[in-house]
């Protein structure tokens, strides 16, 4: 069960350089103020999701993890709290500015791009198989084809319940050009993906023949589901019950990057091979 008690495993999701402006105070009336509540001016957003990347120069509320003085300038590693007239965040840690921070504080780096790069790196590290190649066909999985189709009266005989969240599984057959991570000897790899545009599935890559690029894949294990939650990726094991052995899934938008798109997986692969 998720809990915030395990602060040691929480990762910062909004990192910025800020200056403590006022202690025991907040920019929002909804915030319960104590000795570690502070108004902080954002000097520079370092890493952030796109919606929060434009906060340079603004004041927000930080629940500090330790004691600090007005005027101190810090790197603040924070997570979500409240969003209203202003923003309140909880700081997991604060660091004094050091020479070693010069790289992250260098001007010109988009905080949202930095966040995306980190997500891609983590995604690459967690993938079971990373290949480059070309989608040569897309088909219905065998177990979907074998389902009884057609009109069904009130007989209780339907084989598979339907819901608006039906993934509408498809399989992309990919001709492999290169294997960048993992062990895969075959010339082809089969990737299961949801064709559904339902809220539960729309983010997953939708493959079609002719697509070329890099694929970051998670192996499904039908008989032994993995419960590990991937960062930024839904647990692949949860679809394992409907997948054949040694099938991979692509469920996250980061799972595919076309050759035409610079950076991202390509940068990671280049760095590993150099």
């Amino acid at each position: 069960m998720p809990t915030r008690k395990t602060a040691q495993i929480e990762k910062p999701t909004f990192i910025f350089k800020g200056t403590v402006k006022k202690l025991k105070s907040a920019t929002m009336k909804e915030v319960p103020v104590d000795k570690n509540t502070a108004i902080v001016t954002v000097d520079q957003v370092i890493e952030a999701p796109a919606d929060l990347a434009n906060y340079d120069g603004q004041d927000l509320t930080v629940q500090l993890s330790g004691s600090h003085k007005v005027g101190e300038t810090l790197i603040l590693n924070t997570v979500s709290w409240l969003y209203g007239e202003s923003i309140a965040v909880r700081s997991l840690s604060e660091e004094p500015i050091k020479a070693s921070h010069s790289a992250v504080l260098a001007a010109g780096v988009d905080p949202a791009a930095r966040r995306r790069q980190r997500e891609q790196r983590e995604h690459f590290d967690e993938a079971d198989l990373v290949v480059s190649g070309k989608v040569i066909s897309v088909r219905l999985p065998g177990d979907e084809q074998s389902l009884v189709k057609g009109a069904v009266a009130a007989s209780g005989a339907r084989h598979k319940p339907v819901s608006e969240h039906d993934p509408k599984w498809r399989e992309a057959v990919v001709e492999v050009d290169d294997v960048h991570k993992g062990d895969h000897k075959k010339k082809q790899v089969v990737i299961r993906f949801p064709a559904s545009n339902d809220v539960m599935w729309y983010n997953a890559p939708k493959f079609h023949p002719g697509q070329q690029g890099h694929f970051m894949l998670t192996r499904t294990k039908p008989d032994k589901p993995t419960k590990t939650k991937k960062v930024g990726q839904k647990a692949a094991a949860e679809v394992a019950g409907a997948t054949p052995t040694d099938t991979y899934v692509a469920l996250d938008p980061l799972d595919f990057q076309p050759y035409s798109e610079p950076g991202g997986i390509k940068t990671i692969i280049d760095a590993k091979s150099s």
Binding site: P49, A154, R158, E164, V239, P253
Partner: protein, 480 residues
């Protein structure tokens, strides 16, 4: 420029009534709920629900498919401590998907204990994993507590009542479509008769009494009167075609005169024509699980409200798919669901019905109707009010472009909107295109997020950079 208020001039100068419409007639407060600090967001914040604390109506919680702004592990709910005038996001719902937030979600407060309950499908699960949640402090920072956790469940819809007396227990009812049931009787209510206890137990009540084509439809909606009478309505499937997505369904109403506390819960209504549990308020309605009305998918909606002043009186709304037209129907029973009226209202091409009846027996009927064609096509969100079910007064809340923004995912507006009453007031929520244009909100509206009402442009947190139009949740309060 950030013009926050649009529409008719307010009737008084008190801050609380900003955005209210018209000095005579119902007082309307409509608020775009996206906070100013998230002015940059372009999420498709669809499928909203709302809960008002009956013990303190200034406390309101709401939800939509809104992701955590930092893509963290908890999805947000919207919270208000001033009766809905201002809104804040508080990320306390377990299972955030970093791009869409939680899955299906509904919320409801206890009548007296301030506990907020939720039924959700976790956003971080691919197996339709239902959680029933609660929190004693909806504005606090602690994650909601998980009471129930099981998979293959759809559209959990939570309702709460509290027993009479100072030590009255919270009774929680979560309607859901439990697709793990092999018998095909999937319409289910998870019920706890003491949900505020340290470790509450929930019982699964299978409410389908007729043979189905393997399952029922997604919506199962309980509605509980303060006197303990419990009703439920569901989409009881009679046939279904896997390939076309077309099917037929009965609209079945159940009742339990003792709140589901007996050995055979929800069996107090028997249909006289087949002697089975549950009266069929309508039979053989048609639906298309692959159908669309504009950019919004269809599939068969149902709604039910019981009169706060008299539990004998019940209204229901449901959809019937006629192919070219998606018809919304409204019926009433005055004998505790035994018999049903002729059509009180029939609305063409409308969906997301929501009903509520206040403490003056006034009925409110919320829906979203697709009108016009081509570029002139609009989603029109209306609230109809009636004191007798015969004469209706219509408030147009929103009239927004139907083809912009493009759909990111289904559902575009949501598979449901929501309405409830506390005292004489109606509180509701719906999702719509957020273009800051006065004509789009004929009853007035207040925006928290930055917008320029002269150029009809949304603006970023810097109050200068334009932001694309998206789907936002809108809070509604109507005082008749």
């Amino acid at each position: 420029m950030s013009a926050k208020k649009a529409g008719p001039k307010k009737s008084t100068k008190t801050k609380k009534q900003k955005g209210s419409s018209k000095a005579s007639g119902p007082k309307v407060l409509l608020v775009n709920m996206i906070p100013k600090s998230l002015s940059r967001e372009t999420n498709q914040d669809s499928e909203p629900t709302i809960a008002v604390n009956p013990a303190n109506p200034l406390q309101i919680a709401a939800s939509a498919f809104t992701p955590d702004p930092q893509k963290g592990p908890m999805a947000p709910i919207y919270i208000s401590n001033d009766g809905g005038n201002t809104w804040t996001l508080n990320s306390i719902v377990p299972g955030n998907d970093r791009l869409t937030g939680t899955g299906d979600i509904t919320l409801m407060f206890s009548r007296r204990s301030n506990v907020l309950y939720a039924g959700i499908l976790r956003g971080d699960s691919n197996e339709m994993r239902m959680n029933i949640l609660r929190t004693k402090n909806f504005a606090g920072g602690s994650p909601m507590e998980v009471l129930v956790n099981r998979k293959n469940v759809d559209q959990p819809y939570v309702q709460v009542t509290t027993e009479a007396g100072n030590n009255g227990k919270d009774r929680v009812y979560v309607g859901n479509n439990d697709l793990a049931v092999a018998s095909g009787s999937t319409a289910t209510i998870d019920q706890s008769l003491n949900a505020a206890s340290a470790s509450p137990s929930f019982k699964k009540i299978r409410i389908e009494s007729r043979q189905t084509p393997g399952q029922d439809g997604p919506p199962v909606r309980p509605s509980i009167h303060a006197d303990g009478t419990a009703y439920a309505i569901y989409h009881s499937w009679r046939s279904f075609n896997d390939q076309s997505g077309e099917g037929t369904a009965d609209i079945v109403v159940l009742r339990d005169d003792h709140g589901g506390t007996g050995t055979k819960p929800f069996t107090d209504l028997i249909d006289p024509s087949d002697n089975k549990v549950g009266v069929r308020a309508a039979q053989n309605t048609r639906f298309n699980f692959n159908g669309f009305l504009g950019l919004q998918r269809t599939g068969g909606d149902v709604a039910l409200a019981v009169d706060a002043t008299n539990s004998d009186v019940v209204y229901v709304a449901y959809n019937d798919d006629h192919g070219a037209d998606y018809m919304l129907h409204l019926l009433r029973s005055t004998d505790r669901g035994k018999t049903w009226s002729a059509e009180l209202r029939t609305i063409r091409n409308a969906l997301n019905p929501a009903l509520a009846i206040n403490n003056a027996a006034k009925v409110a009927f919320l829906y979203q109707q697709l009108t016009g064609t081509g570029a002139a096509q609009r989603w029109v969100t209306k609230l109809e009010l009636s004191a007798n079910g015969t004469t209706w007064m219509t408030l147009t809340l929103a009239r927004t472009p139907a083809d912009t923004p493009p759909a990111k995912f289904d559902p575009y507006l949501g598979d449901y909107a929501h309405l409830l009453s506390v005292g004489k007031d109606f509180y509701g929520i719906f999702s719509a295109n957020n273009t800051p244009k006065k004509e789009n909100f004929p009853s007035g509206v207040i925006y928290q997020r930055n917008a320029n009402w002269t150029t009809n442009t949304l603006l970023d947190v810097d109050n200068a950079t334009p932001v694309h139009v998206s789907i936002d949740p809108f809070f509604l309060k109507v005082t008749p």
